[in-house]
Every structure is written in structure tokens, then in C-alpha cells.
Amino acid sequence: MSKVYPDNNGRFGSFGGKFVPETLMYALEELEKSLTEAWEDSTFVEEYKHTLAEYAGRPTPLTYAERLTQKLGGAKIYLKREDLLHTGAHKLNNAVGQALLAKRMGKSKIVAETGAGQHGVATATVCARLGLECKVFMGEEDMRRQELNVFRMELLGAEVVPAVSGSKTLKDATNEAIRYWVANVEDTFYLIGSVVGPHPYPKMVRDFQRIIGDETKEQLQDKEGTLPDAAAACVGGGSNAIGMFYPFLEDEVELFGAEAAGKGISTKKHAATITKGTKGVIHGSLTYLIQDENGQIIEPYSISAGLDYPGIGPEHAYLAESGRVAYEGVTDKEALEALSLLTRAEGILPAIESAHALHLAFKKAKEMKEGQTIVICLSGRGDKDVNSIKEAMEKESKS
């Protein structure tokens, strides 16, 4: 496994690239150049690390889930606690990085898209801190599912713009954000929330999120004196997962990505992009996506707004194709069961997104030997989801 990806054209194998209107090409070239310069500039790197430490709350703990481990019998389970990061999810790592970069590039306006609202909240938060104007596109349906996060963004001074086309979820919010960016590219920075989009976004977001895996590696070394045997994370666009996986790609660590299988991958209601998708172009990047035979994108479904996306980061498509990472679908029901299990066993209420990773990891842990270790990226906390969880559980108990 070579780590030099993406290549100069932004390709991870055959995936990635820049499939955008000509209007955006210069902005992408400019971004690529600024990004390279920024990483070479120690004051930028210091500021990024300093902000994460002093403001965001890094490093986040690596918690040993003792009771859960005993309950499941098998590998030792460790949780990488991105839920304890400021604003409640891993999204802030990336938002801090990109917002600092935007400022360095002299941009004063930020546009973003959000699904669950966590990326929107993270973006609104750094914009407040850095004094940047912030506009967030969010699907109308997601605004309903994540009412509390809409209010949080507004409190932070951001303007939340409803996306009313299509399924009124993340896909459509992304379309609207890109269309807005096309019209305002001269003074606006598009702050993407996952490892998706045209080059250099997938690489940039990965590099801002790899802090998750880097810290995990060090922390587990301290606790166990070794690398983990396995790691698991949920995959929507795939930013928390790539953040966790990337530092382990060349190590002997089994990697598992959990995608949203919604009501089941044999139904039409899912967001299992790798399991059920085919190659194509979405939001500026060649990757796997859920589409019909004519290349029209199909609206995905998941109980979790953060995983409800028809595409996936191109690097994940590459890692799936090469077999380095195993991706599996996890249903709404399985995720909710894992969520209950963790909450009762350890007193940690995870985000529904993260609960997908939990289910998959629990399944693997049981198959592993005692003494082995598995780390799970707990990408966010469940406070934002209590309404959805309540609704789903009430429905479940009625049926």
C-alpha cells in the first residue's frame, strides 16, 4: 500500500479527479497551491495544532470499554472519543483546518453544506471564532431531523439556507452549496465537510482528520504497548473513517468501514454506497455512488442524517477496490441496538452515525481472540439524536 495517493491529477487509482464546471477550476488550483504552502509553513501548522489543543480539546481520550469487553467476550474494545471534542463530533478537526486556511488565503466568506448538522455546527463555530461570515446549506428534511443543530448554527451567527430540491437531504445541500460557490467563487471559500468533492478536497480533509488515527496509535502504544489488531469507523462521506484508517494503512491492522444499510441492503432504502453502488461521478469526483442504469443519482436513505449520502470519498472507493479496507452495511435497527448496548454498558450515548461503526466492531470483536484489541472511532455524541432515537424506538415498540 503506497501512501503517495492522490497523484497530481487528484486520483486515488482510478478514483477522484476534478469533475466540476470550468468556473471552479481556478479556485481548485488556487486551493491546491495554498494548501501545499500552508502545510510547509510552520506557523500555519502550529496554529492548527494549537487551536485543536487549546480550543477544540485535543487530544481526545482513548477509553477502554471494560464492561462492554466483558459482555461481548473477545477482543478488548477501545473507543476513540471524538464525541468529547468541542461541538460533539470529529467534524471540528477539519473545520478548524479549512477555516484557518481560508483566512490565510484572505477569504472572508465561508459556505458549507451539512447533513446531520455536525459539520454545520463545527463550521459556524470556527467562523464565529475567526470572524468569518458563514452560510450553511442544509436539506429541508435534515433541518427537521436535526432541529437543535439548526438552532445552534443560528446562535453561532450562521445563516442556514434550506435546500429544497430532491430528497432535501445532504446530497441536495451539497448541490446547492456548489451552485452557490460557482456564483461567488471570487470571495467565498467552500468548506466541505467530508473526504468528498473534487481534488484537492478529499486529500485536504483527510490530512486534517488523520489526527484521529495518529493520536490513537500513540495512545494505544502507551496503554497496550502495541498497535491495535483492528479498527472500525462509520462511513458517510468517510472523513472520520479515513482519519482513523490513514495512519494504519501500512500497518498490519484490519480495517472495517460501516456504511448505512438503512432498512436493509435488499431494500431500496439504504445508503450503502460501496456495497450497492457503482462507479460514477458525483459532486466533482469519480467514486462509487448509488445510481440507476442511466446515471441518474438515486436518493439514499438512512436513519442517520450524517450517513444519508449517495456517494463516498474516492479514497475509500480505492481502498475498497484494493481490498485494504472491508466495508459492510449496518441497518438502522442494528445501529440502534448497538447504541443501546454502549449507552447501558458504559454510560456513553453515541451519535447514530457512530453506532453503525459500533455494531460492526462488536460483531468483529466477538470473532476475535481474547487479548486482541479493536479500536472504534466514536465519531460523535448522541445528544443531537435523542429525538430521532425516541421516535425510532417508539415506532419499534409499536410494531
Partner: protein
Amino acid sequence: MTRMSVNEAAKKAEYPLFIPFIMAGDPDPSTTIELVLRMEEAGAHIVELGIPYSDPLADGPVLQRSAKRALQQGMSLMRAMQLVPEMRKRGLTIPVIIFTYYNPVFQMGVKTFLDKVKENEADGVLIPDLPYEESQELTVTAKENGLANISLVAPTSSTRIEKIANKAEGFLYCVSSLGVTGTRESFSEEAYTFIKNVNLSSKVPVAVGFGISKPEHVENLQGVCNGVIVGSAIMKKVEERLSEFSQEEKMKQNALQEIKSFVSSLISS
């Protein structure tokens, strides 16, 4: 009359080289054929046949809604291309350019797509989300088939204009101003300067698109470029007359006539 290539048609046209955009399948396939024929009658030199797409990143609200209606009609890339031979049978002689986003093409395969374009008597392709860097394979294969792959330049293209203009075929599509398709009130001074610069760099005729919706726009561009591309302004008229299109033949013909008159008034200044 015999058919011309996109190159020939663009070169031969006197100002304004007029290139209307018609969305295939909005409000229905047979009306699309009628609309395209009316465009030729109104003086179109080349027509862009739009393929409806679920996620059109370069389009504004009018074309988005139009695409949505067309998709509900079951329109697809293949079906849209198959409308062209019917247009030819009904006497259409001007070149047809297939306007589509890249994903439907990728699903079909670039080579198959271009074979089908040719087979169905269309003359060129335009893919707004396939920029210069990603378009090598398609450009080469299109050329081998005698088809034009239309290139776009935008106000942000700056250092890219030259390389794009150098490989342009047929005509160079000049995006008037930042943003998505749609109608605009007016164009800025910078827009004119930009278009003039593009015109200087280009060996092929330059047509300006995005926002052209009034006779003044066409008038003001005279001497600045070679022609105009009009999409949203036409499809907006179609949208306004949806109920007439669903009625008896006479109402439908009336609506078509009105759209044709609108287009004629737009370009005959």
C-alpha cells in the same frame, strides 16, 4: 439542404450566431421535436439538446425544474439522442449538440456514447462538468468521429483561457459571468472586457451564454463576440405555457408560435 458540421455552421453564421438550448423531454418528447424545429425556423444556426440530469451543478432554478419535469417523463440520454433522427426526418438541417453532464456518459461508456451521437445524426457534445484536464479521451475520440467537443471558458479561467481556446472546436462557449445558468438583468463592464479578451484568444467563433434573455443583451454583444447561447429564457417560456402544451393541438401550436416569436425578437435587433 445538406447538413453542416458544427465548425462550418459556426463559421458561416453572421452575427448573432444563435445557439438555443432545448431540454429534451420538457414538457414531452414530441414537443421537444417541435420546439427544435421552431428554433431553426427562427434562425438558429446550431441547437443544444439538453439531457435532463438529477444533479445539475452548473444549472440555475429554471433548468433544474425543466430537467426534473423531463426526468418525470422518463427521459434519458439514450432516448434524447433518439429524438434527433426524428427531427432530421422532419427536416432539421442545423447541427445538434448533445449537452449532458458526465455521469450519464460515463455509465454508457465514452466510446459507445460518441458512437450513438454519430449514429443518431447529432454533431457535437458539450459536457459542463468535464473540464479540460479530464476531457482528453473524449476530445480525441470525438475528433476521430468527426464530432465537436465544445469547450467552455469562464471569467475565472484567466491563465487557462489560452490552453482551452487553443483546442476549442466548433465554437468556444464563453460563460458570461460567475454563477449558474439563468436569466440576468445586465452584464458588467468586466464581463465585456473578459469576453473581448476571449474573442482575441480564440481561433473559432465565440458564443456567450449564461443569462442572455433580452434583445438588449444581444445588441450590446455585437462586435464583442460572434454569437449567443440562450437556454433558461427559452425554457422559462416553456414553463409558463405548460398548461397550454397539455391541451388540444391548437393551443399547443399557439404556444410554440409564441415561443418562436420571442426568440425571433431576441435575435433580430
